[in-house]
């Protein structure tokens, strides 16, 4: 499974709920497969998708808030797992699309293959799911519908040469669309 396929499956499942997507190819894939008002495409500030998602989750308890993170991104802000785990937002679903690499900058390796991200998440009070196939992904998405968060989905994906287009919305428009949707 490549990121774009996995992003499409999770984004469709999220419906109208807000999604905060990490910078680089993550936001591009989301924009291409399922653009909508409540997507916050983070285009800079690497690492902070999880923190922005936490802020939205805390203030919108009736919505399920999805974070689309990469392994490189979450490794830059592991502290956010501590903060999320201490505040325990029930409506936060943290999805890490893990390809063991910084694909957006040329496939340089991250260290996610050498450690257990899911164990870190488990120890910071998340409910964890490790997913390696599309079939399992669909099953887990169904399973978590009635589960309280914080939930951590670690989706193992492979790298790919497929490239999505850049997000064409201007940052200020991304901001206003999200504000209007919440």
């Amino acid at each position: 499974m490549i990121r774009k396929e996995a992003v499409k499956i999770v984004a469709k499942n999220a419906g109208k709920n807000p999604i905060v997507s990490a910078n680089g190819f993550m936001s591009r894939d989301l924009f291409e497969v399922n653009d909508k008002e409540s997507n916050f495409y983070m285009i800079g500030s690497m690492g902070l998708a999880s923190s922005i998602g936490l802020g939205i989750a805390l203030k919108n308890p009736k919505k399920r808030v999805f974070i689309f993170d990469g392994d490189g991104n979450i490794l830059m802000n592991l502290g956010s797992l501590v903060t999320i785990g201490s505040l325990k937002p029930k409506n936060l679903i943290h999805v890490v699309f893990d390809n063991n690499s910084h694909e957006s900058t040329g496939n340089q390796p991250t260290n996610s293959s050498k450690i257990n991200l899911e164990k870190i998440a488990k120890n910071t009070n998340y409910k964890i799911f490790v997913i390696k196939s599309k079939r399992k992904l669909v099953l887990v998405l169904d399973q978590i519908k009635k589960l309280n968060g914080p939930i951590f989905l670690l989706i193992k994906i492979s790298t790919s040469n497929e490239r999505s287009k850049r997000v064409s919305w201007k940052p200020k428009d991304i901001r206003d669309r999200v504000i209007n949707s919440l």
Partner: protein
């Protein structure tokens, strides 16, 4: 800045619909943060950038937020301020403790204390230095800035050693 005014600033901002106070502590802002903790209204994060991210999520939810930090944390946050807060024009108030303001402050504070005013200016973050005399005006100014959807900073000078 004295204890009484720091505690008053918290309530003054709270009354003006600043609802969230998020950041990394500074002894320069000790009583302000303490007042927030007493009111169960503070989130302490692991790093300053994390605080800015959370406050951004809250601002997108039409919820006004203040992010507090030392100036060491401000230096950590420059890329986040330029590529998130300023890029998307996220209305946030920064409250920054000016370490290294006194020329005989601790050695690790001196360099950042010296370059801080210029750094703020270079990145284009509008700033006011808040004192025991002008604090109400400064708070009103900051609240107005975020009403106009602009980020801004309030700086408190560190006038003591510990």
């Amino acid at each position: 800045m004295n204890e009484e005014i720091q505690r008053k600033i918290f309530h003054y901002l709270k009354k003006r619909k600043i609802e969230n106070f998020i950041g990394v502590p500074d002894s320069t802002l000790k009583y302000f943060i303490d007042e927030g903790l007493n009111n169960n209204n503070i989130i302490i994060t692991t790093r300053e950038e994390e605080a800015i991210g959370i406050a951004t999520g809250m601002a997108l939810s039409k919820n006004n937020s203040l992010v507090f930090m030392q100036n060491a944390g401000f230096a950590n946050s420059i890329s986040t301020i330029t590529s998130l807060v300023e890029l998307y024009k996220i209305p946030l108030i920064f409250l920054i403790g000016w370490r290294g303001y006194l020329p005989d402050d601790a050695p690790e504070h001196l360099k950042i204390g010296k370059i801080q005013p210029e750094l703020l200016k270079m990145i284009g973050l509008k700033t006011k230095i808040i004192t025991e005399k002008n604090w109400k005006l400064c708070c009103d100014w900051a609240v107005n800035q975020i009403k106009e959807k602009k980020p801004c900073a309030l700086v408190i000078r560190r006038m003591f050693h510990d």
